[in-house]
């Protein structure tokens, strides 16, 4: 398990404390990091949800991302 890492979190709205806490727990488990630093920013274009970036790894949990997935599915099958 890594000791420290900075993770970028882009959300559609400002996240509540409970949401941040939930995120931290999940991200520690997912990335195996004991002490992480979250760098928050807001992008209303996401509509809802969050995008998490840890280096080259990206977890897209935004409504905009879901719409993009649906669009790609329709276009590419």
């Amino acid at each position: 398990m890594k000791n420290d890492s900075k993770i970028e979190v882009i959300s559609a709205t400002v996240l509540s404390e409970s949401q941040v806490s939930e995120l931290e727990e999940s991200l520690k488990r997912i990335f195996s990091i004991s002490d992480l630093t979250l760098d928050f920013s807001v992008d209303t274009g996401l509509i809802a949800g969050v995008i998490i970036k840890n280096g080259s790894k990206v977890i897209d949990l935004s409504l905009d991302g879901k719409l993009g997935e649906i669009k790609n599915y329709i276009l590419n099958g």
Partner: protein, 166 residues
Amino acid sequence: MEKLGINPLLIGVQIINFGLLLFLLKKVLYKPVLKAIAEREQKLKDIEAEKEKVQKESQATTEERAEILESARNERNKIISEAKKEAEEEKKSAAQKANAKAKAILEKADEEVQARKNAQEGEFKKRVVEAASVLTKKVLSDTLTSKDKEDITNSLIVKLRKVGVQ
């Protein structure tokens, strides 16, 4: 006999004279005439033989000519027949080639039309999906309240619990 005016000596002389004349005629005139006649007859025979020979040769030549003509006619008919056959085959082959070429052109044209159609359909589909995506995004942005967005964000964050270790 003398009373009758007949002189036996004269008769004897006349007989001798006649015999002598006969002898001379035979020797001097008769033989050459006969010889000439024989030669003429021989010549006539030769001419007749020559004539027959020429006639035979002529007949043979005529027959040979007829055979040659017949053969040439047959050969000509054969050549014409073969030429017609070849021309027919050539025509058939050319028609087949033309048909194949036309078919290939049509198939290629069909493929091109189909490809264009597919491309246009793809482009149309892309535009429709793009428009629908933009419209959906716009509608969602306008209609979702802050509470809705927060709820959706919450549900999406909860999903993170199910995400495996990267």
